[in-house]
Structure formats: structure tokens, C-alpha cells
């Protein structure tokens, strides 16, 4: 009842105001001058900014006081958590003084959402900064990129030894894996976008389910079907480079197939129909229209798959052996090291110098992934500009 009365009051004042503002009949009312200015959509009132900043500062002070003087607590995590809760409470209180409930809820939710997003950004930053800061000592030396790990010693200086063998190994393994996975993946994507029927649904379901099946199982599968049956008898009956490539290909094919399908699905259906209407065969339409139109998306799919494969480590624990020596032959039955496995083994070694080398290799790994992502951004921008 109270709200009804309030509503009626609001209504009456509004009507009264409207009546006041109505121009008298026959008198040409001059338009108010501010009508000429475009109204700003995203106007932020100064007091709202004050509310946010004030609550931040106030809650920081309060938590600082309580946390360090009243409660015998410590720890950065706890402090930030308490600060956040105090800020939300304070912000809600400040907003509630001048705004109705829905606005308070909306603003508090916005603060929560922005806060959590900032948290993700912050944590991601700590990952990058921590790895780079710890790997810098090793990466600074040029020989880190030109010498194999066997040239250095466990506890020796960083002026000897490096990750050349791991870099070469990763390059070869990922290269072979892509050579297998790319045709399979794009072929499957073409099949899924260009044809219809129950078989398409089966394939799509299986591919989607396989995208997230643990990569470890790809290694297990390749070990069982490729390494184990030939155990000891053939060069590939050992842990070796080609088995790693196959495992990476098995893990990577569904990823390529899915992202390539997305890329091809974006190709306008009208373009296909235009091609077919001009008398082109299905194959010609796919070859001349669908694939070229989807090329930026396909390139992105390829790059993302490379980025995923180069950092893939779980299957390597199954099918790859560890070595510090240089080996560029994937089929000679000798172990072939790659970057992620090198990172894993050195970080677990417990030797301080080796751990720094491991972080150095991790920096290189991160850098490669960054570069690949920058490439996808460039591709995406090209796609926008050509439209």
C-alpha cells in the first residue's frame, strides 16, 4: 500500500510538471536550448564515481585497520578478500542512500563481475610475470638457443648448454603432426559443413566429444596401437619422435576439425548457392568459393592447433623419452626431446640451475604461443578490412 501511495504521488507530480511545461495554446514556445545538443548516452554522474572511489579507499582503510591491528591475521590473499567484501558492503550502502533497490543490486553485481574479471587478468599476469622473471637468467644467454642440453651440466653456468635440441624436436614433431592432422581436420570440417545426413550428425557428435577427451589418452592410444605391437623389433617399437607426432595428431585433429567447421560455417550460404546456380559442381564450389572465403578462419584454426600442440605435454609422458642429446630423426628409435617435456623434466629435477633453465624454456614456449596468437589477431583484422 505504501508503495502504491508513493507511486501515486510520483504520478501526480509528473502530471503536474507536464502540465506546467505545456506551452500555452497559441503561443509559439521557443524550443529549450539544450534540445540542440545530443544527449549523452554513457554519461557517468560525478557522484557515482565518488561512490566507487570513496568505497574503495574507505574499505581499504577499514580492512587495513581491522586486519593488521585488531585481528591477528596475515596474508595477501586474506587481505584482498576482506577488502573486496568490505568494498562491496560499503558501495552497496553508499548507493542505497540515493538509489532504489534494483539500482543498488545492479551496481553491486557490476562491481562483483568487474572485480572477478580483473582477478582473472591479474592471475594471468602473475603467471606470465613469474615465469619470465625466473627464466630470464637462462634466456639472456644466446647459447641457450644454439646449444643442446647435453652441452651443459646439471649445475654448470648458463653460458653452456641450451634448448636447441628441444626446439628442433618440437618443430619436427609438431610439423609432422600438422601434416597429418590438417588434411584430416579440414576434410572432416568440409564434410560436416557441406553435406547432410545422419552420418554428419554422428561425425559431429564424435568430434565434439573428442575435443575435450584428455590428451593423455591420445598418447596412451598411440602407445598401444603403434609402439607396443612392435616393441623392440622395429625402430618405432620404442618411445620416439614419430609416436609423439602421431599422438599430437590424434589430439589435434578434432581441434582443427571443430574450429575449421566454425570458419566454414560462417561462409554465407548465399555464396554457395550462387556458385551452384552458376553451374559449378559441388567440388568446384567448395574449392573456389567456400575454402577461399573461409581462408582467414582456416588459417586461424591452423595456428591455434599449432599453439595447442607445441605446448602439449601429457601424451609426451607416455610416448616420448627424455634425452639431453640432439636428435633430428623421428624414426630411428631413439628418444627425441621437445620443449614441454624439457620444461617438465627440468622443473621436477630439483636442481636450482636446471629449474631456471626450465623456466627459460617455459619463457620460449610462452613466447611462441604469444607470437602465434598475435598472428591470429592480424588475420582477424585482415578479415574485417576485406569485408
Amino acid at each position: 500500500m505504501a508503495t502504491d501511495a508513493a507511486l501515486m504521488t510520483v504520478y501526480r507530480t509528473a502530471v503536474a510538471q507536464a502540465a506546467d511545461e505545456l506551452p500555452a495554446v497559441g503561443v509559439a514556445a521557443a524550443p529549450p536550448p539544450e534540445q540542440d545538443e545530443p544527449s549523452t548516452l554513457r554519461h557517468v554522474a560525478l557522484e557515482d564515481v565518488y561512490a566507487v572511489v570513496g568505497s574503495l579507499v574507505g574499505s581499504f582503510g577499514l580492512v587495513w585497520l581491522v586486519f593488521s591491528y585488531v585481528l591477528p591475521l596475515s596474508g595477501v590473499v586474506g587481505f584482498v578478500l576482506c577488502w573486496d567484501v568490505a568494498f562491496l558492503a560499503m558501495y552497496a550502502g553508499v548507493t542505497a542512500r540515493s538509489h532504489p533497490r534494483p539500482v543498488v543490486v545492479s551496481r553491486v553485481m557490476a562491481a562483483v563481475i568487474v572485480g572477478l574479471a580483473l582477478l582473472v587478468g591479474f592471475v594471468l599476469m602473475t603467471v606470465v610475470v613469474y615465469v619470465v622473471a625466473h627464466g630470464l637468467d637462462a634466456v639472456r644467454h644466446l647459447n641457450f638457443f644454439t646449444q643442446s642440453a647435453s652441452a651443459g651440466s646439471l649445475t654448470g653456468t648458463f653460458a653452456q648448454g641450451g634448448i636447441y635440441n628441444a626446439l628442433v624436436g618440437s618443430l619436427i614433431q609438431v610439423g609432422i603432426a600438422i601434416a597429418i592432422a590438417l588434411p584430416l581436420g579440414i576434410g572432416t570440417a568440409v564434410f560436416m559443413t557441406e553435406t547432410r545426413g545422419w552420418f554428419v550428425r554422428v561425425v559431429r557428435t564424435v568430434v565434439e566429444a573428442m575435443t575435450a577427451v584428455p590428451d593423455l589418452l591420445a598418447g596412451l592410444f598411440i602407445y598401444v596401437v603403434f609402439v607396443l605391437p612392435f616393441h623392440g623389433n622395429y625402430p618405432w617399437g620404442h618411445k620416439n619422435g614419430i609416436a609423439v607426432s602421431l599422438a599430437l595428431a590424434v589430439a589435434g585433429t578434432p581441434i582443427i576439425a571443430r574450429s575449421a567447421e566454425v570458419a566454414l560455417r560462417v561462409v554465407p550460404g548465399g555464396l554457395r548457392e550462387a556458385g551452384l546456380a552458376l553451374g559449378a559442381s559441388h567440388w568446384q564450389t567448395v574449392r573456389r568459393i567456400v575454402l577461399p572465403t573461409g581462408r582467414p578462419g582456416l588459417a586461424t584454426a591452423l595456428i591455434l592447433a599449432v599453439a595447442r600442440m607445441i605446448g602439449e605435454s601429457a601424451p609426451l609422458l607416455i610416448v616420448s623419452g627424455f634425452t639431453t642429446f640432439y636428435n633430428a630423426n623421428p624414426v630411428d628409435g631413439q628418444p627425441m626431446i621437445s620443449l614441454p617435456l624439457y620444461v617438465y623434466e627440468t622443473l621436477r629435477s630439483g636442481q636450482p640451475a636446471e629449474i631456471i633453465r626450465g623456466f627459460g624454456a617455459a619463457v620460449v614456449l610462452l613466447f611462441i604461443v604469444f607470437i602465434l596468437f598475435a598472428a591470429t589477431r592480424v588475420l582477424a583484422r585482415q578479415r574485417v578490412s576485406t569485408r
Partner: protein, 337 residues
């Protein structure tokens, strides 16, 4: 263009339907055959993963029977092989990861799709993708060297104040002046925190994709009815994106169940049935396989492959449910001009 003596009757040829088949049927037939063949090969490869794992698991199940699932010890030397404690650890790590990752991923995806300025939206999407592509070995290193010392303090705090809840209990006195730090490290909780870093980007990108598709008209209708921003999100975006929220979360769960390297970095492999997630020592299937594979005999190998089969079936089930939800919320198959 067949030259014939009598002129063809135009009306007759109009009666015949024009064949939708292309001018070069053999090329197309070959094309369809090749594409279908590739899809078939992919299907066979992925189908055979399950088949091979199942085939290799037969001896294990014949020897241990259902006790493989109920026995908690993994000790092939003593002929005691079972994965009940490992299964429990797998679920614990995945659930911790999910509980941490779900609200964060939901908030991040809402931030990107609803709150972020248009200019940096593309950049944020790329950042989330990048976060998904950061190798898990790097997250593992981060979790082991940086996260663990901080998370140990958090574990201690939780067990001190919430230790009366059974799962948060640690068998030591957390309030002691010299507290037993070694009881709090290498726990399922810390492993789950680390794995959540890998779950967040996957879940977030699925959710964001669905939120971005929430119809503009309904958003505007909500605003026009006087809704606040959160009111609009609650009444339009979230209900519309429910399939994506569930699907993305399930996808994240699948990822969390199978994560290997990061877990291997953090936990210390033990095979006790441990319900206390803050207490050190647990095991997950993938960590068990990766850890024991190097030095395993053939009988042990078969047992590990059986564990792999269990993991495969678990993740396959979870992912299939995820795929059903995500597909249901997907809009038209092709974009029209």
C-alpha cells in the same frame, strides 16, 4: 548441345525437372567419396581409442573383476590393484576446480559480453583464448612454485575456521604456533585451484559465445521496460544462455577430469581414501597413468590402460552431455547474406 534432326520440343523439356546434380557428376561423386572417407577415417580413429582401451582392459577385469573399482590401493607388487581412491581424488580435484572456476568464468564472460567497452572486446576474447592456449606445464609450474605457498596459508585458514565441516578437516592442529605445514601442501584443493586456471578459459569462451547471441530486441525490450543492467542480464541474457552455461561448465569438468601435468606437479601420489581435500596426498587417474607409465611391467601396463579406459568413459560421458547442451543452444547452421 546435341545436334539432332528434329527440333526439340521446348514444352517437353520444361516438363522434365532440371537435375540438381552438377554438370560433372563424377568429379562430385569423387569429392563426396573423399570427404566422406576422411570423416570415416577420423571416426574410425576415435572409435578405436575406446575399442583398443576396452580390449586391453579385458585381462585386468578378468583378473581383478569389480574389485578394480573398489580396491583403494595401487600396488601391483602385492597384486592389489584398484582405483577407488584414485577415482575419489579425480572427482575431488575436478569439483574443486569447478567450484572455483564456475563463478569466475561466469563473471568474466558476462564482463566481456556485457560490460567491457566495445573497443577492447576483441582483445579480451583473444586474451581468454590465449589463456586457454598457455601450456598446462606452465600452469603447473606456476601452481607449484607460486600458488602453493599462498594456497597453503589459505588451506590453513579454512581448516582453522571451517574444520568442523568434515571435508575441510585436516588431521593436525591448524591453530598451533608451529603448524604442520607439510600436512597442507600437495593437496587436492591446491591441485584443483591450479586446474581451475585451465577450466576458466574453456568455460568462459563457451558462455561468452552464447551470451553474445542473446537477441538484441529482447535486451532493448527489457531496458525499455525500465530494467537496470543487471535486471536485463538476469531476465534476458542468463535465461537465454542457460544451455551455454551448463554446456560450458560440463566441458570444463571434462577438462578438469583429464588434466595431467598440472596435477602431477602439485599432488604427491598416495592411494588412501582421503575425503579431506585440504590434506596432503591424493591421486588422480591421469596423474597415476603419467607417473607410473615409465617403469611399468606388462601386467601393470594393462592395469594402467584399464584406468585409462575408466577416465575415457568418464570424460566421454561428461563431454557428450556438454555437447548436447551446447548444440541445443546453437543458432542456424549457415549465415545468410
Amino acid at each position: 548441345m546435341v545436334a539432332s534432326a528434329e527440333p526439340p520440343n521446348l514444352l517437353d523439356s520444361l516438363d522434365e525437372p532440371i537435375s540438381p546434380q552438377a554438370t560433372n557428376p563424377w568429379g562430385d561423386r569423387l569429392f563426396h567419396l573423399v570427404v566422406r572417407g576422411i570423416a570415416g577415417v577420423v571416426l574410425v580413429i576415435f572409435g578405436s581409442i575406446g575399442v583398443f582401451l576396452a580390449y586391453q582392459s579385458v585381462p585386468t577385469f578378468r583378473r581383478y573383476g569389480l574389485s578394480f573399482l573398489t580396491q583403494s590401493q595401487w600396488n601391483p607388487e602385492l597384486d592389489k590393484v584398484g582405483i577407488s581412491s584414485t577415482l575419489l581424488g579425480t572427482v575431488e580435484v575436478a569439483l574443486v576446480a569447478l567450484v572455483v572456476a564456475f563463478p569466475i568464468a561466469l563473471a568474466t564472460s558476462l564482463f566481456i559480453s556485457e560490460y567491457a567497452p566495445l573497443r577492447i572486446k576483441g582483445l579480451l576474447v583473444a586474451l581468454v583464448d590465449l589463456m586457454a592456449a598457455v601450456p598446462s606445464v606452465i600452469y603447473g609450474a606456476w601452481g607449484f612454485f607460486l600458488l602453493m605457498p599462498h594456497a597453503t596459508l589459505t588451506s590453513r585458514w579454512i581448516s582453522e575456521y571451517f574444520g568442523w565441516i568434515p571435508i575441510f578437516k585436516v588431521n593436525t592442529d591448524p591453530a598451533a604456533a608451529v603448524w604442520a605445514q607439510s600436512r597442507f601442501v600437495n593437496s587436492a584443493f591446491i591441485a584443483g585451484l591450479c586446474v581451475s586456471m585451465m577450466v576458466i578459459p574453456i568455460t568462459c569462451s563457451v558462455m561468452r559465445g552464447v551470451f553474445a547471441e542473446a537477441p538484441l530486441g529482447e535486451r532493448e525490450a527489457s531496458y525499455a521496460l525500465g530494467s537496470t543492467k543487471w535486471g536485463m542480464i538476469r531476465t534476458v541474457v542468463l535465461p537465454f544462455g542457460r544451455g551455454g552455461i551448463i554446456g560450458g561448465t560440463m566441458l570444463g569438468l571434462g577438462r578438469a577430469l583429464g588434466e595431467t601435468i598440472a596435477v602431477l606437479f602439485i599432488i604427491s601420489l598416495t592411494f588412501n581414501v582421503n575425503f579431506h581435500i585440504l590434506q596432503n596426498g591424493t591421486s588422480t587417474i591421469s596423474a597415476l597413468i603419467a607417473n607410473d607409465f615409465g617403469e611399468s611391467t606388462s601386467a601393470q601396463l594393462a592395469a594402467l590402460l584399464t584406468a585409462g579406459l575408466v577416465l575415457f568413459l568418464m570424460t566421454l560421458g561428461v563431454n557428450t552431455i556438454a555437447a548436447v547442451f551446447i548444440t541445443r543452444s546453437r543458432s542456424g547452421a549457415a549465415t545468410e547474406i
